[in-house]
């Protein structure tokens, strides 16, 4: 189902061959975020892709961890032809997938030199604390409970517009920012972890899309994310 060019499950070599790879490489809009979405469920892929596009992200959607690695040039095959031009700002992956789980994919990304700084978000339909902890310990940025909503995706944009983020354990980690310095975030969501100046700039943002309903969660602290609940309990993050 790709009649609108939506779901791209092409091999990366094919994509470059037919010119899609070209479209993904610089010069890119400095404020256009490129997300790699990984999910074995077609329905979920379509939904996550739409959610991301509606928040002005460019999306590449693949159906497995292997395809994701292939796209990133991290598979065992020949070295990626143009991987140094490949810009991925965020990777969002399902946890439960046949073959390679989202957790295994996360590990491989964090072990790589080229992509270990890219924020990785895990999605799962099951709220299992040990699973969440394991992913966060391995370096996942956040853990989203399925079904994923617009408010969840809007919140993710915060990860991509700060230079330094304080992680739940208090360690500072530098996030990849696209050169030149990114413009202010499009989302009006405020983040629990922001510094005061970032919060101010976020709160002064005007909602850019009148047709979208702002759910209460996107304004106040979202309560349905396990990570958010954990952070709210930690002192000193306000």
């Amino acid at each position: 189902m790709s009649k609108d060019g939506g779901v791209s499950c092409l091999r990366r070599s094919e994509m470059i061959g037919i010119g899609i790879g070209e479209l993904e490489s610089p010069p890119l809009d400095s404020d256009q975020v490129h997300v790699l979405a990984v999910d074995d469920s077609l329905v979920d892929r379509i939904v996550i892709e739409r959610l991301l596009r509606i928040t002005s992200c460019k999306v590449t959607a693949v159906d497995s961890g292997w395809r994701a690695l292939e796209f990133l040039g991290l598979d065992d095959k020949k070295a990626a032809v143009e991987f140094d031009r490949l810009k991925v700002d965020l990777i969002i992956t399902d946890y439960c997938m046949p073959g390679m789980t989202g957790y295994e994919l996360l590990k491989k990304i964090k072990e790589s030199t080229s992509f270990k700084e890219v924020p990785v978000v895990i999605m799962s339909s099951e709220n299992v604390i040990t699973r969440i902890d394991r992913c966060l310990e391995e370096g996942a940025e956040d853990f989203l409970l399925k079904p994923v909503k617009l408010a969840d995706v809007k919140r993710l944009k915060n990860y991509l517009t700060k230079d330094v983020k304080v992680a739940a354990d208090g360690n500072k980690r530098k996030l990849t920012t696209p050169p030149p310095p990114p413009p202010p975030p499009l989302s009006s969501t405020s983040s629990m972890e922001s510094s005061d100046s970032t919060v101010e700039s976020l709160l002064s943002m005007v909602v850019d899309d009148d047709s979208l309903t702002l759910s209460p969660e996107s304004i106040a602290s979202p309560v349905d994310s396990p990570l958010r609940r954990r952070e709210m309990k930690s002192p000193g993050l306000d």
Binding site: S41, I46, V47, R50, C96, P147, K149, L150, L212
Partner: protein
């Protein structure tokens, strides 16, 4: 544009969709999907739900095969099928289908073949019922658009 006709159709649409939520066919995730539809993507919701119905049909067939031989039920494959169905029904807001999947999983976990057969039958019934209901809903949408009106935003809260 005949404003009376449009208003009537919009009213009909509104009542119908509210009834679907009230009767438990749909949950909030369906509203979330509707938020993602706009003039540029007027068929988004119907495309996703029809993909879901295709999914249902295929998975039900596979699971039916798994359950055929009483002495040789592949509960692992069954569990995988139920997990997928539960996931996609949750993603589109198909509440009744999702709830049957929850019971179905419990039957798989204890390797209750009879229970699984009942759940399979029920999941088949529910997805087909939902398909009929949503076809009616999309039909109403088309009538509204053809009469020159706009689809109402419906607040389910």
């Amino acid at each position: 544009m005949n404003t009376t006709v449009v208003a009537q159709l919009q009213r009909q649409f509104q009542d119908y969709i509210v009834s679907l939520y009230q009767q438990g066919f749909l949950d909030n995730q369906f509203s979330e999907l509707r938020k993602l539809q706009d003039e540029g993507t007027p068929d988004f919701v119907s495309e996703v739900v029809f993909l879901f119905f295709d999914d249902c049909s295929k998975l039900i067939n596979t699971m039916s095969t798994s359950l055929e031989q009483p002495d040789n039920v592949d509960f692992k494959q069954l569990d995988s099928g139920v997990h997928q169905l539960k996931g996609s029904s949750s993603s589109v807001g198909a509440k009744r289908v999702k709830n049957v999947c929850i019971s179905f999983k419990e039957c798989c976990d204890v390797q209750n073949r009879e229970g699984c057969l009942r759940c399979l039958q029920q999941v088949d019934y529910e997805y087909k019922m939902l398909k009929t209901k949503l076809q009616e809903l999309f039909n109403l949408e088309q009538q509204i658009l053809q009469a020159g009106g706009t689809i109402p935003q419906v607040d389910i809260s």
